[in-house]
Structure formats: C-alpha cells, structure tokens
C-alpha cells in the first residue's frame, strides 16, 4: 500500500500529472494576461518528453555522481512532502506532532539542491545563480515559517492534520489568518523562484542560474521537481489557510483541486503584473515588511487564544 501511495496516488504519478497541468495553467494565465493565445495544453508534457529524449551533457570537471543525483533528490523531497498534508479529508495519510516542520524542511531541500547544482556545475553563471539561491532562501524562509506557524499557534498543534481539524470545527477563525496567508503567498512566490523573485535564474543577466549546465534528462527532472514543488506548496497553503473539507472524499477532492487552482491563479497573476526586483530589494522587502507582518500575526493569534475560550 505504501508503494501505491508513493508511486501512484497521491505520490509521484498524480503529482507529476497535476504539476504538469498546473504549469500549463500558469503559463496560459500568464499568456492571457499579455493578450496572447498561449501554449496548448500538452506543452509542459512535450517539453519534458523532448528533454528526456535529448542528449545529456555532463561537464568535464564536475562531480558526476552528484550532478546526476541532485535532480532526483529535489524531486523525491518535494514528492514526499505531500504525504503529511491533508488532501481529501482533514486527515493526512501520515501524521505526527511536528509534521508541519518536516514539510517545510522537505520543501527547502529542492532549493538547497539548486544551490549545490549551481556550485557543482563549475560555471560562472551557475555559481552566481547558486549564491543568489541561498541569499534568497534567507530572505523568504523566515516569513514563510512564521506565517505558517501562526495558524498552528491558534490551533495549539504542530501537526497539519490537527490544524485542519481545528479550523474545520472553528471555521470563523480562518478569517483571522488572512494577513499570514498574504505573507505566505508572497514567500511561496520567492520559494518557487517566480517573477518578481526570479533573481536566481534571471535569464537576462545570468542565463539560467543554477541550471546553466544542466541539459537533457537531468534538467527534465529539475523541471518536474519545480512543478511538483508548485503543487505541494499550493496544497500546503490550501490545507492550512483554506481548510474546507466535506464528509464525501470525492467531493472533498474536487474542492481540493479548486483550492489549488485558485492559489495558482493568484500566483500566476502575481507573476504577470510584476517585474523582477534586485536582490537587496528583495531582502529588504522580506525583512522589513513580510517578517514583521508575520510576527504581528503570531502575537495577535496568541492574544486571541488567551481571550477566546478555545
């Protein structure tokens, strides 16, 4: 049964399919916002198949094993995170106290592999991209963690399933967490390296950032990892901030898909109306506005917890 979970549903196959579709949705919304027709629905799939069937070049003076292993680690980490997030009911497949932290760490691993990939590639552009990856990590990670932990404080639990159950029984309290939701949406945009936070792979400055030397199948796996991470991050936000579950698992699953669509739609709109900012602007923005907002949310939640008989 675990193998089925891992490989088919809600693991690798399901996440890949949904991830590819979400990439299409994202690109289509982006194109429509620019008054274009946009790519056909099979575009991300065609990209992946083409990349897999292309020649794979490994640069001469890299560590070959590491070069090949990093994309797989990124994909595996992003896929594993889905098991601890409630999808079709307020119970996740597996859960224990503290799994919210585990999920957040699993979602950080892809960023670290991007850094290592750039550093291992031994190329100037990839090296700069790798350093920018890490700098960016330090700016969005803290607001993201605080924003996601604020609802956990209110629910007095560190397990995603229990948080979802708490908000299902107290639906009005969801409204309290709206500032944290905004913080998390912005931070996730930085985590996924999308405009306006696509500083690490700014193609007009440093060609493709950490992925400059990656080609063929390894690059395809990295793309899959990014798509998977997009879906998993949207699922995480949906489970914590929009915990709407009904008894029927099938209808609940449809609601889940709708929630993911809404979140990715917001992310896509973000991407199309903004332009890339500079590294130090991003660090400043995250620490000056996002982190205090998340901190205020935590304090408000703690105060409310003292006032309300929960």
């Amino acid at each position: 049964m675990s193998i089925f979970y891992l490989l088919v549903f809600p693991g690798f196959l399901f996440l890949s399919a949904l991830g590819l579709f979400m990439e299409y949705f994202d690109r289509k919304v982006y194109a429509r916002m620019q008054n274009r027709v946009g790519p056909p629905w099979y575009q991300p799939l065609a990209d992946i198949i083409k990349l897999v069937s292309k020649e794979t070049i490994i640069p001469y003076d890299t560590n070959k094993k590491m070069f090949a292993a990093l994309p797989v680690i990124a994909l595996a980490a992003a896929t594993t995170a889905i098991f601890y997030i409630p999808i079709w009911s307020s119970h996740a497949l597996f859960s224990f106290t503290g799994d919210i932290i585990v999920v957040l760490y699993l979602l950080t691993i892809p960023t670290l592999t991007f850094f290592l990939a750039g550093w291992n590639s031994n190329s100037l552009f990839a090296g700069i991209g790798a350093v920018r990856n890490l700098t960016q990590l330090f700016s969005y990670e803290v607001p993201l963690y605080m924003g996601l932990l604020a609802p956990a404080f209110l629910a007095s639990s560190w397990s995603l399933s229990e948080i979802s159950q708490f908000y299902t029984t107290h639906p009005l309290l969801i409204l309290l967490n709206i500032p944290a939701f905004i913080v998390c949406i912005i931070a996730v945009q930085g985590k996924l390296e999308r405009v306006p936070f696509d500083i690490p792979d700014a193609e007009t400055e440093i060609v493709a950032g950490s992925f400059t030397e990656y080609s063929g199948r390894y690059f395809a796996i990295f793309r899959m990892a990014l798509d998977t991470e997009l879906v998993v991050a949207a699922t995480l936000l949906a489970a914590v901030f929009i915990p709407v579950f009904v008894a029927n698992p099938f209808i609940s699953f449809l609601i889940y898909l709708a929630k993911v669509f809404v979140i990715i739609f917001i992310l896509a709109i973000f991407r199309s109306v903004m332009a890339r900012i500079r590294m130090e602007q991003m660090v400043k923005f995250c620490w000056r506005y996002l982190a205090p907002l998340a901190l205020a949310q935590i304090i408000i939640n703690i105060l409310i917890k003292g006032v309300l008989p929960l």
Binding site: R27, A31, Q34, N35, R36, V37, G38, P39, P40, Y42, Q43, L45, A46, D47, I48, I49, K50, S53, K54, E55, T56, I57, F125, E203, T204, V207, A208, F211, T212, E213, Y214, S215, G216, F219
Partner: protein, 142 residues
Amino acid sequence: MSLDQKIINWARRKSPWIVHFNAGACNGCDIEVIDALTPRFDLERFGIMQKGTPRHGDILVVTGAVTMQTRDRLIRTYEQMPEPKFVVAIGACACTGGVFDGCYCVCGGVNEIIPVDAYIPGCAARPEAIIDAVVKLLSTIK
C-alpha cells in the same frame, strides 16, 4: 517507426527551444528575431521559447555574416548544444555573407562554418518569415 520514436518526434516538433547567436549582424536581423518573440506574434503557441544557455537549446538561430572574431565562439556555442540540434540562418548575411561578403574580416555565410538546416533570406528577414521557416523546419522532423 516504433511508437516511442513517434512520441519523441511529436515532442520534438512541439517544443523547440531557441538560442539566439549574433555572429556579426548589423542588428537589423536581431531586432526582427526579438520582434518575433514578442507577445504580438506569440511564439509560445508553437511551444517556442527563448533560452539563454546553449545547453537547453534545440535550434541555434544565427544572424549576420560570421566574422573572424565570432567564428570560434559560434563553433563553441554550436558544440555545447546537446543533440539533436538544428541551425537556422536568418537574413541575407547569415545565408551567404550578404553585403559584407568579401570584407577582410568576414569568413562568409554561416554554412561555411557549421551545417545549416534552414535559410531565411531578407534584409532584414520579416518576423512572419522567421516563424514560417521555423514551423516548416519542424514539420520536417518525422
């Protein structure tokens, strides 16, 4: 042809990523290439995307006559692209050397240095012609 080869060819036709290389153009053709990539012509309909690094590219788009300065760089960029790869020469200069042919520093058209799969004449080549050529080139992948 086996089924997997058919699927691979389909994917190759549907997802060509281009790398733009200026081998010594007067900038006229470069602007037309950039033109073709703007939202007005919407090349993403055909899956065409511009990539910065030759490692991700499928089609090398070369503009301008090859000069002695860019000759080695052109060869290096070409060799860094993973197989299968295609080369499109855009503009009269890239096809034959054009008005610069015979200059003391010009080696000639792109096909004197690397194999070329499609030629797009014109000074400068129109974006419509560029799109038409790329789509025609893709239809030859079978």
